[in-house]
């Protein structure tokens, strides 16, 4: 296909593989929008990015050995989430230095395994940036499961996550099971990041789990509004990103990331005027 010529938007539904990818990204948009809202509220953006990247060597090994990539990535992601949760419980930051080095090890290790041990060099791009072509029914089921889990967790745990995020010690005193709520959030982010890997790749999971919710955060003033807007932005961004990826014949991960960031910039510019116009809070009692 000539990359300069714009494909017809109807190709997104008429081409069979595009239809599959569209459904996949819509399901991931529900999961990413809902969990992203909590990620943005709880300041877990870096955790979401790191979880995705940390799975890279697991994906390489699974890809080369024929082992289930989902299970391998899930093991790595949950292991990473467990480590972060344990460090947080001991009152320690997992440490920006340690995290940065861990990610370098994951990426460098994955490259060495891919190009030299398994000689699956061509797969590296797909594992890092996702694909719209190879998605199957299994991927759709996993994405649907992630979306359902995110929705159920938001309905059941939303009040607890809000109370704990707003005021951790106060939430604990209200009898909210803070530790369980935190553990479930980190675990769900890890599971959903793994579900997103086939479509957007290990390097850019933040494009689904951080960017749409950040855009929505600029546009809304309540937790409920944030959740709804984040899902809407994520689905729109997924469809638009898929269209760009079809147009440029490039993987969907980078396209979704670029479209999503542009939406964020547009929202930031549109609301910047409003933010400066808003009066300062009153200091009187």
């Amino acid at each position: 296909m000539d990359p300069a010529a714009l494909p017809a938007p109807t190709d997104l539904v008429e081409l069979r593989f595009m239809r599959t990818a569209l459904v996949e990204l819509a399901l991931l948009g529900v999961a990413g929008g809902l969990l992203g809202a909590w990620i943005v509220l709880r300041r877990l953006a870096f955790f979401a990015h790191a979880t995705g990247t940390a799975t890279f060597p697991g994906l390489v090994v699974a890809d080369a050995t024929g082992f289930s990539a989902t299970l391998a990535a899930l093991a790595v992601a949950l292991g990473y989430a467990g480590g972060v949760e344990r460090a947080g419980r001991a009152g320690r930051d997992p440490g920006d230095v340690a995290t940065a080095l861990l990610l370098v090890v994951a990426l460098a290790g994955g490259v060495v395994l891919a190009s030299d041990v398994f000689e699956s060099g061509a797969a590296v791009d797909r594992l890092l940036f996702g694909t719209a072509l190879g998605l199957g029914a299994g991927d759709l089921w996993i994405a649907a499961g992630a979306a359902a889990a995110a929705l159920a967790a938001t309905l059941l745990l939303g009040r607890a996550w809000t109370a704990v995020g707003f005021d951790g010690a106060g939430g604990e005193a209200l009898g909210v099971p803070v530790r369980t709520a935190d553990r479930l959030l980190l675990g769900l982010v890890a599971v959903a990041a793994v579900a997103a890997l086939p479509a957007v790749g290990a390097l850019l999971v933040a494009s689904l789990f951080v960017v749409p919710a950040a855009t929505a955060r600029l546009l809304t003033r309540s937790v409920g509004g944030l959740l709804a807007a984040a899902v809407a932005v994520a689905v729109v961004q997924g469809a638009a990103g898929l269209y760009v990826s079809l147009w440029l014949d490039a993987p969907p991960g980078p396209a979704v990331a670029v479209v999503g960031s542009l939406l964020y910039v547009a929202a930031a510019l549109a609301t910047a005027a409003r933010a400066t116009a808003r009066p300062a809070p009153l200091e009187a009692a």
Binding site: L156, F166, G170, G171, A173
Partner: protein, 254 residues
């Protein structure tokens, strides 16, 4: 009458380290108030975290009557950027009914509105928490404690950075809550305000003193509590207790 709050031989530590607070021994009756005095890092917040159950005692016992105590952190420890309204925050108190997985009921909303009304913020129910003034935020947190209907309230520096008008209103609310039979534990820097409480507890890693303000607020006790961080004024207060000013750096770790 049994105590609303009691500690006996209490020692608390963070993560298996040395105790941050030890030899704490006091009792507080329902319907009375306790002022917790001490320097930064002296163990005031640690004591509260032991009373909420967040930190298990290393030695000794704590007991809190009537279920979970309400805990009001310093408002700068809450997330002011969180997209929650005053009503949302007051409504969080209803999570204490133990069914945190269910949506809030209509009756919970009515209770939360009534609590906001009681702290004088009925007209600000829809305002963002972070856009309220420091005193208003403290009152919203008090409304959350009222919704929680806790028998014991723990308040960490509730009057720090609050304008005088709000402070007066908050102190009046303290009186009302105490008269309803609740026990209030309030940590503060303000030695002068300690006189208005029924009991005073001085801590600086160890318990220094506990008792009625007139007995506890002596030059000797205050100097042991605050070390070099205090200037004791020569002129005594109206009821004969010592007047003092603490000179502290405001950094908030534990």
């Amino acid at each position: 009458m049994t105590a609303a709050v009691a500690a006996s031989g209490l020692a608390v530590a963070y993560g298996g380290g040395r105790p941050a607070l030890e030899r704490v021994e006091f009792e507080l009756a329902a319907g009375s108030s306790l002022c917790v005095l001490g320097p930064n890092g002296g163990g005031k917040t640690t004591l509260f975290r032991a009373l909420t159950g967040e930190l298990a005692p290393l030695r000794g016992t704590v007991s809190v009557a009537g279920g979970r105590p309400a805990y009001l952190a310093q408002t700068e420890r809450t997330r002011l950027d969180f997209p929650v309204s005053a009503l949302d925050v007051a409504l969080m108190g209803s999570l204490a009914n133990g069914r945190w997985w269910l949506p809030a009921r209509r009756s919970d909303r009515a209770t939360a509105r009534a609590a906001l009304d009681r702290v004088g913020l009925a007209d600000r129910a829809g305002d963002r928490f972070g856009e309220l003034s420091g005193g208003q935020r403290q009152r919203v947190l008090l409304a959350r404690a009222i919704v929680q209907d806790a028998r014991v309230l723990l308040l960490d520096e509730p009057l720090a950075g609050v304008d005088p008008a709000s402070a007066e209103r908050i102190e009046r609310l303290f009186g009302e809550l105490r008269d309803e039979g609740r026990a209030l534990l309030v940590s503060t820097h303000d030695v002068d305000s300690a006189r208005a409480f029924d009991r005073v507890l001085c801590v600086n890693h160890d318990q220094i003193a506990f008792g009625a303000p007139a007995d506890v607020l002596s030059r000797e006790v205050l100097e042991r509590t605050y070390g070099a961080e205090i200037v004791v004024l020569d002129e005594p207060g109206p009821d004969g207790t010592v007047r003092a000013v603490t000179v502290q750096h405001h950094h908030h770790d534990h």
